[in-house]
């Protein structure tokens, strides 16, 4: 069967999975340590929707409940969804572009760069200053982009970007940044816990302000990535042949590298390093639906959102919260292994 034959089916499935994601976002916002009933939580959210709030009439929630649902839970759930979307879409794009199953959103050193930035900011006590957490995020974002720029400039050979150079430069720069983080931690022993916690990856302290910046960046980036799916398909059958089929290979790669880097940098700087999502979600989609990027990329995006919302919901249940970055690997790895065992198809 060709992609064109199954297009209608895929479209329906895609709309279905987007609806599932939205449903999970709402449901997830009703779950948590505070004792708020499902109905109350739903009503609190409905009250914020214009017109729909009429059905509630004169109903009023308690102030703390409203605060918990709208100011604490909703932003973090939305952040989990958006970060899952961004990381998985980028992971899928990188795997397609490098034709390498080991590629994940962090191969170019974005995560290590962001972590280095965050570690420096935390070591300098930035989060205790005014602006607080935002300063750590900003530093992480800037460092993430600087790191990718360094990796690009190392890997560039003339006008071309060679995949292996890019991956190796990414690994080398990552290790260098990690060693700097270790030095910072050793010199600031009192901050080790904070830096380590940041690196585990969590969406617990995300603010509305961060979410509102994150959403447009990630969604726009993901849409752009998806529009390059056909080019990625052709590139995967050979870069030389791709040029002859009218694909500007170098331009496509450069555009995708820039878009992907910004998306990942935005995600990582807000949440810390949430691993595994960007690696296993695209693979899962590929194992189920095949390696056509026109399917892999959009479904990875939505699947990543669903997966991270679920993980984050579970992360909130114990009294002492577990960072979501830990859970993604804890649940993701066995699940992925089981798919691998069941599937006889090739990974890429």
């Amino acid at each position: 069967m060709s992609f064109v034959d199954k297009k209608k089916k895929y479209r329906l499935l895609f709309i279905g999975s987007v609806l599932l994601l939205l449903f999970l976002i709402v449901m997830s916002a009703t779950v948590g340590a505070a004792n708020i009933t499902l109905m109350d939580a739903l009503k609190i959210m409905i009250r914020k929707i214009p017109f729909a709030n009429k059905i509630l009439g004169e109903w009023r929630p308690s102030g703390t409940h409203e605060l918990i649902v709208l100011k604490i839970r909703l932003p973090r759930v939305l952040a989990a969804a958006v970060i899952g979307i961004g990381l998985s879409a980028v992971g899928g794009a990188f795997q397609g572009m490098f034709v390498n199953p080991m590629a994940d959103p962090y191969v170019l050193g974005v995560s290590s760069g962001a972590a280095l930035g965050a570690a420096i900011a935390i070591a300098l006590g930035a989060e205790q200053l005014v602006g607080g957490f935002g300063l750590v995020t900003a530093t992480a974002f800037v460092f993430a982009l600087i790191t990718v720029l360094i990796v690009f400039s190392i890997a560039k050979t003339g006008a071309r970007i060679v995949n292996t150079h890019l991956l190796l430069a990414g690994v080398a720069v990552s290790f260098f940044a990690s060693s700097l983080i270790s030095v910072i931690m050793v010199l600031n022993r009192d901050r080790i816990a904070k830096i380590t916690y940041w690196m585990m990856g969590s969406v617990a302290y995300i603010t509305w302000k961060q979410v509102l910046i994150l959403i447009p960046v990630v969604i726009l980036g993901t849409v752009v990535i998806c529009f390059f799916a056909r080019d990625l398909n052709i590139i995967a059958t050979g870069e030389e042949g791709a040029k002859n089929l009218g694909v500007e290979v170098e331009t496509v790669k450069k555009i995708l590298l820039v878009v992907c880097s910004v998306v990942v940098a935005a995600c990582v700087s807000v949440s810390g390093v949430i691993g595994f999502v960007g690696l296993i979600i695209p693979h899962t989609v590929r194992l189920i639906a095949g390696s056509d990027n026109r399917v892999v990329l959009p479904f990875s995006a939505v699947g990543g959102g669903i997966f991270l919302v679920l993980c984050d919901t579970i992360a909130r249940i114990p009294t002492s919260e577990i960072p979501v970055g830990v859970l993604t690997s804890m649940f993701g790895a066995p699940y992925f292994i089981s798919i691998l065992l069941r599937s006889k198809r090739k990974v890429l």
């Binding site: 060709s2 064109v4 030389e240 040029k243 002859n244």
Partner: protein, 264 residues
Amino acid sequence: MEYQSATYPIRIQNINVSFGNVNALKDISLHMERGRFYGILGPNGSGKTTLLRSIAKSLKPQRGSILVNGVDIGKIKTKELSRKLAYMYQSTDIQCDYSVTDVVLMGRNPYLGRFQTEGPTDREMAEKAMKAANVWQLRDRRINEISGGERQRAFIARALVQDTDIVLLDEPVSHLDLQHQIEVLDIARKITQKQRTVVAVLHDLNLASTYCDYLFLLKGGAIIAQGEPEKVLTEGIIEEVYGIKPYIVRGVNNNKPYIIPFKK
């Protein structure tokens, strides 16, 4: 047939290609006409593939120019060139599990905008090309699960569906059995009937003799001989290029020379 120089589908003027200190192509000039089947022959490392890749704009000659329909390929945009010239390169391993149909449909990419998908016309053309290349029965199979020869034919179908005036084939029959060698070259031959130019790198002198209208014989990056098979495939020239003494049978095979290689 006389042509205005601007109307030659391919015209190469004094190109030089070198990789480091190695001169792969030395001051090559040639031109090719519409509706003919050209064969590029020569021993390994003689520059055959380099010549083809230069025409396909896969590599840039250090000197000289290549004109496609009278326009320097340096000035033709990638997408525009992909509507004029199809290039089937020596196929590498593909790890992706695209269906054969999807791979063939990639040949329609030159005609599609970023936000478009393949329409009914594209699908019809793909069907035609797949039938011509004898892969229609493989249309739902995965490209990484079919044999090397089948994949070769799928890539030929992809080149056909590109609907170009010029088709470049790099060793199109190298992985094929006898039946499929003949099949593929018959397809290539058929393309030329539509006033299209086919250029193929071949190793088998007898297939080249049978199918090609005109041959370029390369050695050490230079054209040693060119012309109709009868003129190029002679004892003297073959001995000069390949270093073997051949025995040439004439009078069979439509009077085309048939070469039986001998030891040195």
